[in-house]
């Protein structure tokens, strides 16, 4: 944890935790949960007519890592196509699983703040929570889209 940017990262996480921009009360969506600490997050993703994500929001309760991660995620998704979003989310999760180098995160705006976390086995689960929820949402959007296309 001797990363020189550590303090900046902590500041970013703290900001998103204390002053989330994408937190809203959501209804009817499933929670992703981390039973070992009780953290829960749900994510809403809306695709606009241009096929790009027009808005994203989250709702839930948990520690600063899981909540800030949800806020950063929402910010990150907006403007991407669902396919781009999915690839982005999967890369992020692969970094947390240790399958990709943490420097991957440099390409991700504020998500780079989780570079330190990726080395902490326990908190990785907190950071991953919202992104797991987003993956489920993106799957739902895709199958709805497919169904729409088929009908």
């Amino acid at each position: 944890m001797s990363d020189p940017y550590q303090a900046i990262y902590e500041e970013i996480i703290h900001e998103h935790y204390k002053k989330p921009k994408y937190r809203r009360i959501l209804e009817g969506l499933p929670y992703a949960e981390n039973p070992s600490c009780g953290d829960r997050v749900r994510i809403s993703i809306q695709v606009g007519d241009d096929g790009h994500i027009a808005s994203a929001a989250f709702d839930g309760s948990g520690c600063s890592i899981s909540m800030s991660s949800a806020d950063i995620l929402a910010e990150d998704l907006i403007g991407k196509t669902p396919e781009e979003a999915r690839a982005q989310v999967e890369r992020f999760l692969a970094v947390l699983r240790g399958e990709l180098d943490v420097d991957e995160l440099d390409a991700y705006g504020d998500a780079a703040a989780f570079k330190g976390i990726a080395r902490l086995p326990v908190r990785v689960k907190c950071a991953a929570l919202a992104w797991r929820a987003a993956l489920a949402q993106l799957d739902a959007i895709k199958s709805k889209g497919n169904k729409a296309a088929a009908s």
Binding site: S36, C37, G38, D39, G62, C63, S64, I65, R123, C126
Partner: protein, 416 residues
């Protein structure tokens, strides 16, 4: 320097014992590596004194061999050392060596009972647990309930964090086959009134299993005086190595139980058609046991006996009281439980701050506390808490440690 804790009246000045703890801390190499570490996660695992590390290493360097079947000198020595460790551990809890089974830890010890004694139970038979049990003393019985239709009943926990003994007495029925409870709660710190719990069970002819994982490092155990049938604990929580634990069972019970794991050592004879079982305690020790770890555990028990186990437990309780006193005015801080008999364990929540963030904040100040459900989901649910932080004290902790943690918590309350 004096290195034995003294028995002090509650509320007495603990500086005598603090001086002892300061001296004993020097026997723990990790504090040479990390001199600023304030380690308050002793209920999860304790640090290991040099004597324990050396006991294991000496064994590996002097008489490393497999046990029980070797004719050669180092094999004889290894067997003698392993069996001496058994005798020492038996003496540590007032038991006979043949009643003492080496396991990996409390979890395996309890599972062993659930899969041997438990297999003699019938559908509709009842087992009494409590709401404050660690998952290790809950899930094995839930698995048994699934396998054999045994019914589980739970002693409720009062708002103080104590077992509701009146309700307990009502739970005992003619179908009750076992009472399995913890001696000390790993979350609330509550020291349960084991004498009364055992007496009630005994008078109904019901055997008792005691989860002594938190008790073994903080109070002398005498299985005869306890009057229980099974006692389970872990080496790594009593200053001993990982990978070793104890199941004590009364000879009568162990003799009646079917064996657990199958393999070498637990058999007397094997034919293609079947096997016959070895005598106690080998009947329950299949395969190569954790030999070096048993020897390390023996050293830990000797260490605990030499520092004065009873007074050590009281010193830890005194540290907990000091800590409780120092945090009582922090806004939004809520302590789980306020049992009248409390070991050196304090779990708490801080309003508007997640326990993970509290623990991470303390960690940045060099203070190690645990955060989470402490492997006791149902208890957390009982107190309406999802995640809590927990400080737990050990033999090398000082009053300054309690004070530093309290100060950091006050700051956390403002910062988080």
């Amino acid at each position: 320097m004096k290195t034995t804790f003294s028995a002090l009246a509650e509320g007495a000045d603990i500086s005598i014992n603090a001086a002892v703890a300061r001296e004993l801390k020097k026997e723990y190499p990790i504090f040479r590596t990390l001199p600023n570490l304030v380690y308050l996660d002793n209920a999860a695992t304790t640090q290991k004194p040099l004597s324990v590390l050396d006991a294991e290493r000496d064994f590996y360097m002097q008489s490393c061999a497999n046990v029980h079947r070797a004719i050669h000198t180092i094999g004889e020595e290894a067997t003698a050392r392993y069996e001496k460790a058994r005798s020492s551990m038996a003496r540590f809890i007032g038991a006979a060596p043949k009643e003492l089974i080496f396991t990996r830890g409390t979890t395996e010890s309890i599972n062993l009972v659930a899969r041997t004694f438990g297999e003699t139970l019938r559908e509709g038979d009842e087992i009494i647990l409590s709401v404050m049990e660690h998952h290790a003393n809950m899930v094995p019985w839930q698995q048994l309930a699934e396998r054999r239709g045994v019914v589980l009943k739970f002693i409720p926990v009062t708002d103080l964090g104590e077992l509701d003994l009146a309700e307990y007495e009502k739970l005992v029925s003619p179908r009750t086959r076992l009472v399995a409870v913890t001696m000390v709660s790993n979350v609330l710190g509550t020291i349960n009134p084991i004498d009364r719990i055992v007496a009630t069970a005994r008078s109904a002819g019901v055997p008792v299993l005691l989860d002594a994982a938190q008790a073994a490092p903080s109070m002398p155990l005498d299985v005869k005086a306890l009057g229980a049938d099974f006692v389970a604990f872990s080496g790594h929580k009593m200053y001993g190595p990982f990978g070793i634990g104890i199941l004590w069972g009364s000879e009568t019970m162990l003799d009646r139980m079917p064996p657990f794991l199958g393999g070498g050592d637990m058999i007397s004879e094997v034919r293609l058609e079947g096997f016959s079982v070895n005598e106690l305690p080998y009947k329950f020790e299949a395969g190569t046991p954790p030999i070096a770890q048993a020897i390390g555990l023996e050293a830990a028990a000797e260490w605990l006996s030499s520092v004065g186990l009873e007074a050590l437990g009281e010193y830890e309780s005194a540290l907990a009281r000091r800590f409780l006193d120092a945090i009582k005015d922090i806004p939004g801080l809520r302590v789980m439980g306020s049992a009248r008999q409390r070991a050196g364990i304090v779990a708490f929540t801080l309003e508007n701050a997640h326990a993970h963030d509290v623990a991470a904040y303390l960690d940045r100040r060099g203070i190690a506390v645990r955060a989470g459900h402490h492997c006791a989901h149902p208890l957390a649910r009982r107190f309406g808490v999802v995640s809590s932080a927990r400080a737990s004290f050990g033999a090398y902790n000082l009053p300054e440690d309690a004070d530093a943690a309290a100060r950091a918590l006050a700051d956390a309350q403002e910062a988080l």
